[in-house]
């Protein structure tokens, strides 16, 4: 829209969301192009997670419109599961299935949701594990892996569903510094393949290098958005200036 939306894959119009009396989203309007990488930043509690969880309907918005891949998310959408399987999500806490091996974690939804044969699913899982760099961990259980490895398995698990969109909610916040890089590299490689990505992250290096657009949230609304070069070089809104000075000061 404002950037002459040629082919928006996510459209949000005036999205509002309340938790009880508390308004977490106060009217969010934006859209994401196919293949675009959007990084969402903002202070804690500003509604970033709520926003991206509305995109795959883990949370339900109460007012406004959200259209994902041509389908509007309303309470009477049938087959919400089908839409969800088009949208991959990676969580801060990985949320791997602890009772299943890495291989089973990646094949389970392929077999049950995508209805692939087991051998087909295992082949894809292996290819994805190669891609995220840990093919040798296939037979282990999540509890036996480091945090960085777990998060890469979680990414592989989402990618195995061939999603059109990938959502990341602070994927590196629970990791030790030395493991952050390995996850960011996987994300960067993914962006290079033309995947549409919406990522909440405070890794400013990643944002600067990989993002097409940065979105700043505060108090449940978008304060400012724009390409990283402009966003970092001359932020317009005073709130943006303050936030950037806080996170770039160290």
């Amino acid at each position: 829209m404002e950037n002459g939306a040629a082919n928006p894959i996510i459209v949000c119009e005036n999205v509002k969301k309340w938790f009880g009396d508390f308004q977490a989203l106060r009217g969010v309007t934006t859209s994401v192009e196919e293949g675009e990488v959007v990084v969402v930043i903002g202070p804690s509690g500003s509604g970033k997670s709520t926003f991206i969880r509305c995109i795959n309907r883990l949370e339900q918005h109460q007012e406004g419109r959200i259209v994902v891949a041509g389908i509007e998310l309303t309470s009477d959408v049938r087959n919400i599961e089908r839409i969800r399987s088009e949208v991959g999500m990676v969580f801060q806490q990985f949320n791997l299935f602890p009772h299943l091996t890495v291989m089973q974690n990646i094949t389970l939804a392929q077999v049950w949701v995508r209805k692939r044969s087991r051998s087909d699913a295992e082949q894809r899982a292996m290819a994805l594990l190669e891609r995220v760099g840990i093919p040798e961990q296939a037979a282990k259980y999540p509890g036996q892996l480091s945090g960085g490895q777990q998060q890469r398995v979680a990414i592989a698990r989402s990618l195995a569903m061939d999603p059109k969109i990938m959502l990341f909610d602070e994927p590196t916040s629970a990791l030790d510094p030395e493991m952050i890089k390995e996850v960011l590299e996987v994300m960067q490689e993914l962006a290079g393949t033309g995947m549409t990505i919406v990522a909440v992250t405070h890794e400013m290096g990643f944002a600067r290098e990989v993002a097409n657009r940065i979105v700043l949230f505060d108090e449940g609304q978008i304060v400012e958005e724009g390409p990283p070069s402009e966003f970092f070089a001359n932020p317009r809104h005073p709130r943006t200036k303050m936030f950037l000075s806080q996170i770039l000061s160290h």
Binding site: L58, I83, R84, R157
Partner: protein, 579 residues
């Protein structure tokens, strides 16, 4: 996490040696490390010794009539089951034995155990026998058993000590071989004991069946993958329940000659079902209608001329399947599922007829199962049946749908607020009132229903606890992958929840096993009742009640204890608490 190493100055060192302390040191350190502890140890040891002495004096008293037990073996195990049908019982036991032998080939029995451990066990058994034998000498009169204990103990202990010096530490033997030797010894014991006539051979056969099927399992295991083998074993076990039930509970008025007159036809009908479905699914509208009409006509006709009931019902079923074919067998895939549904349905129908459904004999005959047999049937059957019911109740209680939730809560809270005896009475006296007059279930079946209903409520609460322990992240991840609620429950939340509650479930199963003794109150003769009431009142066993109670306690303990050990192993294998 880097794999390369950079020649840092400190190389790794072996861990420090832990010096082995002798048992005397251990005793000094742990039992006599202070005046208070020392006194406590001495007092408790003295008390324990007195207790053991009292028990031994009781056991070895000349007044005890242990000799009444072997001749009563059949009473303990099957009680009133018609002795002329006893072969059914043996056959059931052999089925279980065959499955057990078969399973040992695939379940962990392929392991090795160090010879040292085996020798240590022999030594410990010898020492225990010796101590018991010596202590029992203080009881009023000696007996042959005491001599056996003392000399056998000395011999075993000596062999153990000697062997301990000979074997090297790393030698191992297969668990299967050790078990085979123990089994052979038990069979020897069976031949030595004065059991009721006609039991030694069947018991020996049981042991042989276990061994034979262990080898069969090994052979088959070479052909099948581990995973397939496990699946086969599980399916066989599940199938064994209805088969055994058929053999034990089989309608005694069932005449085999009559059955054989319709059984082949019924088999043919079942086999022909898929062909009918295939034809109807391919035919045009009119032809399909023609086939349906024909089938319907035959079904009605079969009722008019009173063909055997099983055939009539099967024709009716086939007509219904044929009518439903256009709806359920549209795609080749759906058609295949439909074939299987038909085959399964047909076989189940046949089975129910063979098992004597609709026969009023079951009600009029009174109870005919008893003893350990009944106890095990109620415990295993109650656990197995209450498991799915309990899981469903737990899911219902945590469901977001109010009807299921309210129904589950009402059921759980009502049943948990009532003692088991009440539920048993309810089953016994109230169920018949809902049935057509003159019809009733067997007492065993009513007890099983009541126990299942009771146990399910408690099981549901345990499982609910497990469900609540599954983190919210797990459900969110499943949803984000596009799973439906049913898939999420079956694949993610329920498996995790059950893993957490295994210890609680085992505890409940053990409690249930012991609670089955309450069925005596509705007139059934479970093992405890047999031991307390029936055997001590046999003309040749009068007044042996104390001995029998001790035996009952021992048997219950052996079952419960081995069950809890087995669950420990299961927990370890599933990695409860580590994954």
């Amino acid at each position: 996490m880097s794999a390369e190493s950079f020649d840092l100055p400190l190389p790794p060192e072996p861990p420090p040696k832990v010096s082995r302390i002798g048992w005397l040191d251990w005793v000094r350190k742990n039992l006599f490390n202070s005046v208070f502890n020392g006194t406590l140890t001495a007092v408790l040891t003295a008390g324990l010794l007195l207790l053991i002495l009292a028990v031994l004096r009781f056991v070895f008293s000349p007044d005890r009539r242990w000799e009444v037990m072997p001749p009563n073996a059949a009473n303990y195990v099957v009680e009133a089951y018609p002795r002329e049908d006893l072969f059914n019982m043996w056959l059931s036991l052999w089925i279980v034995a065959a499955l057990a032998g078969f399973s040992t080939a695939s379940w962990g029995m392929r392991g090795q155990v160090s010879v040292i451990k085996v020798v240590a066990a022999v030594r410990a058994i010898g020492a225990t026998a010796l101590v018991v034998g010596v202590l029992s000498l203080w009881s009023p009169a000696g007996s042959a058993t005491q001599t056996v204990l003392v000399f056998g103990g000395v011999a075993l202990f000596g062999v153990g000590v000697g062997a301990m010096r000979l074997v090297r530490e790393e030698r191992e033997v297969s668990v299967a071989r050790v078990l085979a030797i123990v089994g052979a010894l038990l069979v020897g014991l069976v031949w030595y004991m004065p059991l009721e006539s006609g039991t030694t051979w069947p018991l020996t056969i049981t042991a042989l069946v276990v061994a034979a099927f262990h080898w069969v399992g090994k052979l088959v295991g070479q052909w099948l993958s581990d995973r397939l083998m496990k699946r086969v074993v599980t399916i066989l076990w599940v199938l064994s329940f209805p088969v055994i039930y058929l053999h034990i509970q089989r309608n005694p008025s069932l005449v085999w000659e009559e059955v054989t007159s319709w059984l082949p036809w019924a088999g043919l009908l079942i086999a022909a079902g898929p062909a009918v479905i295939w034809i109807v699914s391919r035919a045009g509208r009119e032809q399909a209608a023609g086939v349906n009409f024909l089938l319907g006509a035959v079904a009605i006709y079969s009722w008019v001329i009173q063909w055997p009931m099983a055939i009539r019902v099967l024709f009716l079923l086939l007509t219904l399947f044929s009518l439903a074919t256009p709806t359920f067998a549209a795609s080749p895939r759906a058609r295949r599922a439909f074939y299987w549904t038909w085959l399964a349905g047909g076989v189940c129908t046949l089975y129910l007829f063979l098992a004597g459904i609709g026969s009023t004999d079951l009600a009029t005959r009174g109870h005919f199962l008893g003893g350990i047999n009944l106890t095990i049937l109620l415990a295993v059957g109650g656990t197995a049946l209450s498991f799915p019911l309990g899981v469903m109740l737990a899911l219902g209680r945590t469901s977001s749908m109010p009807i299921f939730r309210i129904l589950s809560i009402v059921y759980i809270e009502v049943v948990r607020g009532v003692p088991l005896i009440t539920v048993l009475f309810f089953g016994d006296k109230v169920i018949p009132r809902f049935l057509p007059p003159g019809l009733d279930f067997a007492g065993e079946a009513k007890a099983l229903l009541a126990i299942t209903a009771f146990s399910a409520a408690y099981l549901a609460e345990n499982v609910r606890g497990g469900l609540q322990a599954v983190s919210k992240g797990q459900t969110e991840a499943s949803r984000a992958l596009g799973m439906t609620t049913a898939q999420m429950t079956m694949l993610i939340t329920l498996p995790q929840a059950l893993r957490v509650v295994i210890p609680a479930l085992v505890g409940q199963a053990i409690a249930l096993f012991k609670d089955t003794s309450l069925v005596a109150i509705i007139g059934l003769a479970d093992f405890l009742r047999v031991a307390r009431d029936i055997v001590p009142n046999q003309p040749d066993s009068l007044g042996s009640i104390l001995e029998n109670l001790l035996l009952a306690a021992l048997v219950y303990w052996i079952f419960a204890f081995s069950f809890s050990r087995a669950s420990l192993r299961l927990e370890k294998r599933l990695g409860v608490g580590t994954r």
